[in-house]
Amino acid sequence: MCSTCAILLKSTFMKYTLIALLIAFTPLCALAQKHSIYADVGITNVRLLPGGSVTYNYKLTGFLGAGAGFQVHNFFPTITDEHKYVPALYADLRFTTWAKRKNSFISFLDFGWDMYKKDNEYYRDSTSVGFVPHNNGFYNSLGLGYFHKVTKNGGGAYVTLKLMLNWYNYREYSILAEEYDRSLLAASGSIALSIGYKF
């Protein structure tokens, strides 16, 4: 089991991490409401394994923010890989609706870098053999979130549902004829359901 996986599975560790984040970021956010941190833990549809993310966000306008984040989730990064914990660094764009009401919705779009070492396996179908030539992939996610109660500082607990995609290069060699050999841009996806807190 990888070290990230071991850490995530230790719920006590996660609890204290969240408390530490709460203590660290609450005063910061009170001072400057333009800066916020979204921290969440959740599960993916791959055997319901846990993961999490932390995203820094800078409020550009009343409803639009931009930032960057880090996440670790468990999924199948490519067609030839086993499911594994994949860390990702990403840039984040976040839209808030009903920004002045007690409850609100957010939607977000992330682009970044999935970091993993590929398995050196081949995928076969009835006419071809293929493999993934490179480590790492392009991370992209699209999500929706809901705040039931937004605090005075604009923080609060939330729930999100996001579709995560890992884009990677895939080379396929045809047994049928060489003219069908091709290099493809492929995507492997999973869905994460998370709960978190905005500081």
Binding site: R124, S126, Y173, S174, L176, Y180, D181
Partner: protein
């Protein structure tokens, strides 16, 4: 010096772009209404229905590796080199050999020949031939349950065979695996005999000495197995396995 650097850069660039094909075709062969592209490797002669050289080369690499893995288990002594026909249109093969609609391959073990669709498990048809010629001795008696079971047990697929068998058994009524073993008419549905047989032969491999297991491969009926393991021990082994499957 400047020209040497440029030359090295060009050489490196082209070296990287050159297709990395390990094995070139070694010939062609006409049979069954197909002109086959052949690649002869150290363990197997491959016959490809298609002409894609790089794909065929990688495909043969994977199967040579699989063969080496399986040789360590079965110690086969084949009377001739294995011939492996890879169909990209397996419907055509089904028509020629009258193979069942659901099949993706079959082995003519005695003749050391396999006919396969390119995407079936790496080991399955290889095992049929290698197990048949294990230690150089062909089987005396045959049971479909044991024969298909060993091919699934060593098909080199990374999956939990007990869980697969349990999952399949949700859709079938079975009291004991003896019902599958004692099936002289070969009436058991393939959806049942492959996963349960595979799990059973994997279990028996773990529970047997090498001598017992390979004697079972040569003498495959349940009556033969009673002589190999002893009636009481075989009963116990079957009961334990039935319990694992929740029967």
């Amino acid at each position: 010096m400047r020209y040497i650097v440029v030359l090295i850069a060009i050489v490196i660039t082209f070296a990287q772009c050159k297709p990395d094909i390990e094995m070139q075709p070694t010939g062609s062969y006409d049979t069954l209404g197909v002109t086959w592209m052949t690649i002869e490797r150290s363990n197997i002669i491959y016959y490809f229905q298609g002409t894609g050289v790089k794909g065929a080369s990688i495909y043969s690499d994977l199967h040579e590796e699989a063969y080496e893995d399986l040789v360590g288990i079965f110690n086969p002594v084949l009377p001739q080199k294995l011939r492996y026909f890879v169909w990209t249109d397996f419907e055509q093969a089904k028509g020629i050999f009258n193979a069942p609609e659901w099949s993706g391959g079959f082995a003519l073990s005695k003749q050391c020949v396999c006919h396969v669709r390119a995407d079936i498990s790496l080991g399955h048809e290889l095992v049929h031939v290698l197990a048949f010629w294990a230690d150089g001795i062909a089987p005396y008696t045959y049971s479909r349950f044991i024969n298909e079971g060993v091919a699934v047990a060593f098909d080199l697929e990374d999956h939990d065979r007990i869980e697969w068998a349990k999952e399949v058994l949700k859709d079938f009524k079975l009291n004991s695996i003896k019902e599958l073993w004692n099936d002289p008419q070969d009436l058991t549905p393939h959806e049942l005999i492959y996963p349960v047989g595979g799990a059973f032969m994997e279990y028996m491999y773990q529970q047997s000495s090498r001598d017992e297991y390979f004697t079972l491969l040569r003498n495959q009926t349940i009556t033969d197995a009673e002589l190999i393991y002893g009636k009481d021990r075989l009963e116990e082994l079957i009961r334990n396995f039935d319990n694992q499957l929740g029967l």
